[in-house]
Structures are given as structure tokens and as C-alpha cells.
């Protein structure tokens, strides 16, 4: 996806004199467009309409207004916090890893191994990931038991719990940082070693190189990746559900509960809740695309 975002849309000029033929050619994309309309666009549009209707089908803005009740605001706020924390952690840790493997002077198999691991780990999410962390950091998990037996420390007495904010964030990190590694590797490759040499040659220290050259060049890519990671965590349902069983008040969990039964006592408020999520996702993905495009101009 990132490559797609990076590349410019090369619009080839349409052939003008063949107007009549163009109509027939459009038939070739009808199956795809029909499918997308039926199973992607209409369902989303339907929710959008629903979020502006009351239960009798009349237009209203009340649902949007009702989003601002504390319970729903809290779920958005918690989702935003989890997404922001894991995106930030993922960006820092993932960038460090990718940079170390590409520019750290390590043998090249390190990079190959990291890329493969990242490909697997960024796809290893959902229920099995929750299981893995329960087996690691749950009440009888490997590390919890190890700490208790070796050091006499009971992790759960210190206030830590896998089933709370920080536990969930730690679990999300498992797919966040590998995703970062995959996204940012091309940008690090694009960071020419001559830029560093040119900077040194002109008298810059290592710090000045990072401050004035490397970070500004990578800045949009880092920010774009961060926003993408944010959206990635924001839409996650399965991991959170399997880990906390719905006790954490996250937006996807609330939408899930709404689908299973009318917990908000107003289905249209549920649609508005889902639309609010789409808006946040759309804004984050949009920002990410813009930023990636800007980097693409610098790093060919």
C-alpha cells in the first residue's frame, strides 16, 4: 500500500477522437464497480444516511450531537490514546530497528531476517496474538511466573495488568512495530549515504546531520507512517475483543456490541458512532498519503 501511496498518479491523456468507442470500453469495469458499489460503497453510504436519521427515518442531527455524551466521548478518547501511544511506540521502535538493520553496518542477512519476521508479525494479529500475550504476560503467563519464581516480584501487584490500557498497548505493539519496519525501510533506503558524506564534508557533526538533513528528509515519511499506524490500531477489533472480552471501552468494541444488540438503545446512534470512526480513519489515511507523496518527491 505504501508504494501505491508513494507513487504519483500518472494520468495519461485520454484519446480524444475516439469518443464513441470509449462508451463501450467502460463496460469492462462494470463488474468490479458493481461489486464495489454493492458491498463497499452502499453499506458505508447506508450507515452515513442512517446516522443523520431518527428512528422514523426523518432527517436529524441529534445522533451527531449525541456522540458528545461522556460515555461515547470516552470510548473515542480511549481509542485515540491506545492508537496514539502504540503508533508513537511503533514509529520509534520500528524506525530504530529498520535503521539499525539497514545502516548499522550489520551483515545483510540481519535485514533479510528482520523483513521476513516483520512480514509475519504484522500479519500475526487478532485472536492468536491475544492468546500469545496471555500466555506470556497473563496471570499465569511465562514472564509473570518467571518473575515471581526468580525475583519474587508479582507483576500484578505492581498495578500492571495485561487486560488494561498498557497491556493492550503492549500487545498492539507486536503488530505495530513490524508494520513500521516494512513501511519505513524504503524511505531509509532512499536516504543517500552521500548526503551524510556531503554534510560531514561541509563540517557538520553527526548531530547536525540528523538535525538539519536526515530527520527533515525523513520527517514526512515518519509522520505519514505514524498516522497509518494510528489508523491501524484504531480500527482493530479482534485483538482487543479477545484480550479484554469487551471490558475496555474502545470504539470498535462499542460498535461490535451495538451490532450484537441495541446497547445504545438507538440504532441510529450506532451508525453515527461507526461514521465517526470512518471520519477519523479517513482523515488519518488522507494525511498519511499527503505526507508520503511529499517524501516521494525528495526520495526517488
Amino acid at each position: 500500500m505504501v508504494d501505491k501511496v508513494l507513487e504519483k498518479n500518472v494520468k495519461q491523456p485520454a484519446a480524444r477522437p475516439r469518443k464513441r468507442k470509449v462508451r463501450l470500453e467502460w463496460l469492462g469495469v462494470v463488474p468490479f464497480l458493481t461489486f464495489a458499489l454493492l458491498f463497499l460503497i452502499l453499506p458505508s453510504f447506508n450507515l452515513l444516511i442512517g446516522s443523520f436519521q431518527d428512528e422514523t427515518g426523518n432527517f436529524t442531527l441529534a445522533n451527531i450531537g449525541n456522540l458528545f455524551q461522556p460515555f461515547i466521548l470516552n470510548s473515542y478518547w480511549l481509542s485515540i490514546q491506545v492508537s496514539a501511544v502504540t503508533a508513537l511506540g511503533g514509529v520509534i521502535f520500528g524506525f530504530g530497528l529498520a535503521y539499525a538493520s539497514i545502516r548499522g553496518g550489520l551483515p545483510s542477512w540481519v535485514r533479510g531476517a528482520l523483513m521476513t519476521f516483520s512480514g509475519v508479525a504484522s500479519n500475526f494479529a487478532g485472536i492468536p496474538l491475544a492468546f500469545a500475550f496471555i500466555a506470556t504476560l497473563g496471570r499465569t503467563g511465562f514472564i509473570t511466573v518467571l518473575l515471581k519464581n526468580m525475583l519474587g516480584v508479582n507483576l500484578y501487584d505492581t498495578g500492571f495488568s495485561l487486560y488494561t490500557f498498557w497491556g493492550l498497548s503492549l500487545t498492539y505493539m507486536y503488530f505495530q512495530f513490524p508494520l513500521m519496519v516494512l513501511i519505513i525501510a524504503p524511505a531509509i533506503d532512499g536516504l543517500k549515504s552521500q548526503w551524510r558524506e556531503a554534510a560531514e564534508n561541509l563540517g557538520a557533526t553527526s548531530f547536525q546531520y540528523w538535525r538539519y538533513v536526515a530527520l527533515p528528509i525523513l520527517g514526512p515519511a515518519l509522520l505519514g507512517a505514524g498516522v497509518l499506524l494510528f489508523g491501524n490500531a484504531f480500527g482493530a477489533y479482534a485483538t482487543a475483543f479477545a484480550l479484554t472480552g469487551g471490558t475496555l471501552n474502545l470504539v470498535p468494541i462499542q460498535i461490535g456490541a451495538q451490532i450484537r444488540g441495541d446497547v445504545l438503545h438507538n440504532p441510529n446512534l450506532g451508525y453515527a458512532l461507526a461514521m465517526g470512526m470512518v471520519v477519523i480513519m479517513a482523515v488519518s489515511i488522507g494525511i498519511s498519503m499527503l505526507l508520503q507523496r511529499r517524501t516521494a518527491r525528495w526520495i526517488q
Binding site: E197, A198, A199, E200, N201, L202, G203, Y212, P216, G219
Partner: protein
Amino acid sequence: MSFLELINIRKSFGATAAVEHFNLQAEKGEFISFLGSSGCGKTTTLRMIAGFEQPTEGEIRVGGVNITNQPPNRRQIGMVFQSYALFPNMTVADNIGFGLRVVGKPATKIRSRVEEMLHLVDLPALGRRYPHQLSGGQQQRVALARALAIEPRLLLLDEPLSALDAKIRISLRNELRAIQQRLGITTIYVTHDQEEALSLSDRIVVMSKGRIEQIGTPFEIYNYPSTSFVASFVGTLNILSAKVINADKGELEIAGHHVYTAEPLNHHSGVDISVAVRPENLEIGSNLVESHNTIPVSINQVSFLGAVVRVRLQLADKTLEMDIFNSRHLKLPEVGTEIQVSFPKEACLVLKGS
């Protein structure tokens, strides 16, 4: 004591030596080219001067001071890279001023120096552009201005023109030389292009397989190549095998014909050696000047190249090339005919190591 001294430099990567026995003394203001094919060690040597590589052995001195162990950011040596290496996130002006900014020069000083540099490279109006908005030639000018802005003690250029179009390459080349002479800055220029090296340099260092083959002025390198590598690398050459008949008289036998060199030979009679003749030294006709060598050949092919006509000649089992200048009155030789060609004794180069 010379301004730049490279003393017995050796650089090895693992077991292989990239550069060996490299000795060079450059005077202040000199323009020196390192010429050789890729992998000959010329760029490695340049990078050692810049400080990006550490010599395994030997010493680098600038102005009598040993800089071998100085980090690159303390050397005050400007470098221009093949791929320009402009910082894409900065404007042209910010690029040029970068070296002054990192050492904390005041902003007004930086601005006036940038302005001066932009005029020097003839891009006065482009200070606010970004590198990706410039052509390759303009980018390389900016790179040059950036390297010169810090008033470097030495200017290093690593194949700066090789990424550019032929036309821009030549005009920028002339401009580069003019700027270098105006500033009087000692310059090392790495290239694989013999024409560039010949036209730009005060002296050329021809390198092969990590060693210096010959150091000399363009004139010396072209006319008096000291090794067969130099002779064949610089310019086109017809290389012929010959047998020494009479060393004192400089008499040789080539494909059954007797040929004389200008100087006596250091070889024993009967020894097989290689001699070389440049295409432009061959002329149609016999005994044009009495002392010239003359050999009979047949004409294989005539290619009209514009200013020059290149003729392929057959001498026994060897193919020779001859260049003759075009003129309106030139009668092109016909393919298949037998003719005599001659060349001066001095043009008959005996190659070392043959």
C-alpha cells in the same frame, strides 16, 4: 614541500588492496586528474583525501600538516559528488550556506557568501528553488557552489559531469576550469573520461588496478605514454608486434616491412616487442618526408565522421585505423584498393613492458 602530499598510501579491503604505493605531490593551485577505469582505486584515493576512508598505511598532508587521522568534518576540504548529493529538503541557498551554518557563521555573512557563490556559478536567480526543480547541470553547479562556499583548502570532484548530457558536460567542463583558475584552488578531479582529463588538467595521474601507471601533463601522457596501459587507455592506438633488427639504429621489422624509431632501442636484436602508432599520425602516400616510415596496406572500410574520416586498413593479419582530416577537396580512398601509408619516426612509440 608541496601543498598536498600523499605519501606511500595503501588501502586494503580485507585481503585485496584497492590502492597501493600511491605517492603524489600537488602544488597549490594545481588541477590534477585521477584517470582510470572503474575499480582502479581513483575514487578510493579521493575518499581518503576527503576522510571518508582511512588509509591502511601512509600519510596524507595538506600544507605540511598530517591530516590522515582527522575526521572529515574537520578537514575543510570541499567535495562535489557524482550524484550531486544536494540536500533535497533545503533550497539552493540553504544548500550553499549549509557549511557556514553548521560552524555558526552569522546569518548576514552567510547570505552575502551565498549570493557571491550563486553569481560565481552563474545561477543568480535560483536561490529559492529546491533541488528537484533544477536540471542536472544546474544541480551540479549548486553542488560546486556549496563545496566552494566554505573556502575549502582543496576541492575534490568525483566524476562530477558523468551524469550529464554530452553538450552540458562540455560547457560545464570549461566553466569549471575557468572558476578553478580564477580562485586558484588546488583541485583533484576523478574521471574515467580521458577527454575530460586531457582538456582540464595541469597534470594527470593514470591509475590501473590500484597503482599509479604514470603522472604527467596531458601532453606527456598522450604523446609519451610510459606503459602500454597508458598508451592504450588514453586515445586510440594501433598496437603492432615488431621484431628488433638493429637496436642502435632503431630498426624494426613489422609484418615483413622495415620501420625505424626516432631513438635507439634498449632491446637486444631479435627480441619481439610492441609498438604503437596513433591513427592521426598515419598519412596516405609514400616518402612524403624522406625520413618517414612507409608501409603498404589495403583499405577495408571508410567511415565518414564529419570533421574526421576514419579509414580501416589491413596490414597482413592486423587491422589498423587511420584518421584523416576532412576537407572539401579530400578524395575519399576507395575500399579494396592497395595504398601506401607513412608515419614519422617519432610517432612510432615503443611500449614499456612489452
